[in-house]
């Protein structure tokens, strides 16, 4: 969208300006890609929670499960009330909810994260294209300058 307004004056910019612009764009791009990766990790974790909850969907009190106390140690436990779950809602807050509410919450979170990932995707594609344009312009400018320097010997 800003492509048009940015695309025109690029030709008028100096090599330094284009280079700075490109550098800035690269670091922005890195930031967005990193954010997106992190969101994907969170999405995966959220899906695991949704999955776990659906396994407990119609379990009764007394349902047994192996509960991980660490990555490599489990205890056999009986669920006293599988219809309720304590869910993390962020910044260290947890809330006890019944199954439906917990599921609704997780789905809400999933929708939110997915939306964020999609909007980041759009930005990333846009930035990549802009970067390609700038890199091209920079290359051309450097070539032109080199040619200029070689042609007239005094300057």
């Amino acid at each position: 969208m800003t492509e048009e307004s940015k695309g025109v004056p690029v030709a008028d910019l100096s090599v330094e300006q284009v280079a700075t612009l490109e550098k800035q764009l690269v670091s922005e791009l890195e930031f967005f890609v990193e954010s997106q990766n992190q969101l994907k990790l969170v999405l995966g974790r959220n899906d695991k929670s949704i999955n776990a909850l659906s396994i407990l969907q119609d379990s009764q009190p007394g349902h047994t499960a192996l509960i991980p106390l660490s990555e490599s140690m489990y205890v056999k436990a009986e669920l006293s009330d599988p219809s309720r779950a304590v869910v993390e809602i962020g910044t260290g807050y947890f809330a006890e909810m019944n199954r439906d509410k917990a599921q609704a919450f997780l789905e809400r979170k999933k929708a939110y994260i997915t939306k964020q990932i999609e909007s980041l995707e759009k930005i990333i594609v846009d930035k990549r294209r802009m970067r390609a344009v700038l890199a091209d312009a920079l290359q051309q400018k450097i070539q032109a300058q080199l040619a200029n320097m070689q042609m007239p010997p005094n300057r």
């Binding site: 304590v86 809602i89 962020g90 910044t91 260290g92 807050y93 947890f94 809330a95």
Partner: protein, 119 residues
């Protein structure tokens, strides 16, 4: 010539320092921004909850039961604080912007002067 060079380098270092400090503030801002988003989400969730909902706060490795009203008040307070912080960092950043511009102009004028001398 040599002093010009030294002067230029000195100013250039100042410029680089400004750049570094500015980056720090930008990172700071990004962090605040993500905290703001997270707290806003928590607030939304807390608002969706029934008044008798059980809310826990993670303190160290323990979950401590907290009043819903208290949790809401805490999140509100934190949102207020984060917004104030963002404004502060924002002000600092625009400050840096002007400082960097003056420094850049200084650098360019030194360069210009150096270019004129030998000719």
């Amino acid at each position: 010539m040599a002093t010009d060079q030294a002067k230029f380098e000195e100013e250039l270092n100042k410029f680089k320092q400004l750049e570094k400090d500015r980056e720090k503030y930008i990172n700071n801002r990004q962090q605040l921004e993500s905290q703001l988003t997270e707290n806003t989400l928590v607030k939304q969730e807390l608002d969706l909850m029934d008044s008798d909902a059980k809310v826990y706060k993670l303190i160290g490795a323990v979950l401590v039961r907290q009043d819903l009203a208290e949790a809401r008040a805490n999140v509100d307070k934190r949102l207020e604080y984060i917004n104030a912080e963002i404004k502060r960092v924002e002000d600092n950043l625009s400050d840096f912007e002007t400082k960097m511009k003056t420094q850049q102009n200084k650098l360019m004028s030194i360069q210009e002067a150096a270019r004129k001398k030998p000719a």
